[in-house]
Amino acid sequence: MTSEPKKNAAAENGFVYLPLIAGWLVPGAGHFLMRKWGRGALLAVSIVGMFVLGIAMQGKLYSSAHDVLDLLGLAGDLGNGLLFVLSRMMGLGADQVQVTTADYGTRFIVVSGLLNVISAVDAHNLRTGRKS
């Protein structure tokens, strides 16, 4: 296996969790750090697009957890990283879901957060050499 030493050498340089944290905070940033420009751009467009569509549909941004379902929604929303924080600061999103599209919007926001977590873990796998 000639590629193993190269992978291990790459994995030992710098802070190994940087792509994971960067990818969580900013969608696609983990892949950009690993110089996977195309993948990073596609992930960023998909995740940010889904989040923005959710906000545009007046989806709900979870701010507190009154029951288990709220807690799960909040966990999903937190996966969006800075997008969630900035949207909360700007007062975007609805407090109450009143129409069907707003319900879809809420799901879009939660799922974009979950997809962002998957994307950040993928960037971490690239960093550790588990994936090429």
Partner: protein, 59 residues
């Protein structure tokens, strides 16, 4: 405020989720594209099948 139809919402959801699944779950670009298309077709196809099932059950 955006009001997409049910099917447009589904198609957008399927598109974005499939792109992320394709990129993160496969190693080579060719396999990524194939898996992304596979997920997209499954998303849309299963929604259509389930919709017809619910329609027939409700009659």
């Amino acid at each position: 405020m955006l009001h997409p139809s049910h099917f447009a919402s589904l198609a957008l959801f399927a598109l974005f989720a499939s792109v992320v699944f394709g990129i993160t779950q496969r190693d080579t670009p060719r396999r990524m594209v194939r898996y992304g298309i596979y997920c997209f077709v499954l998303f849309i196809g299963s929604a259509i099948v389930l919709s017809w099932l619910m329609f027939l059950i409700a009659r």
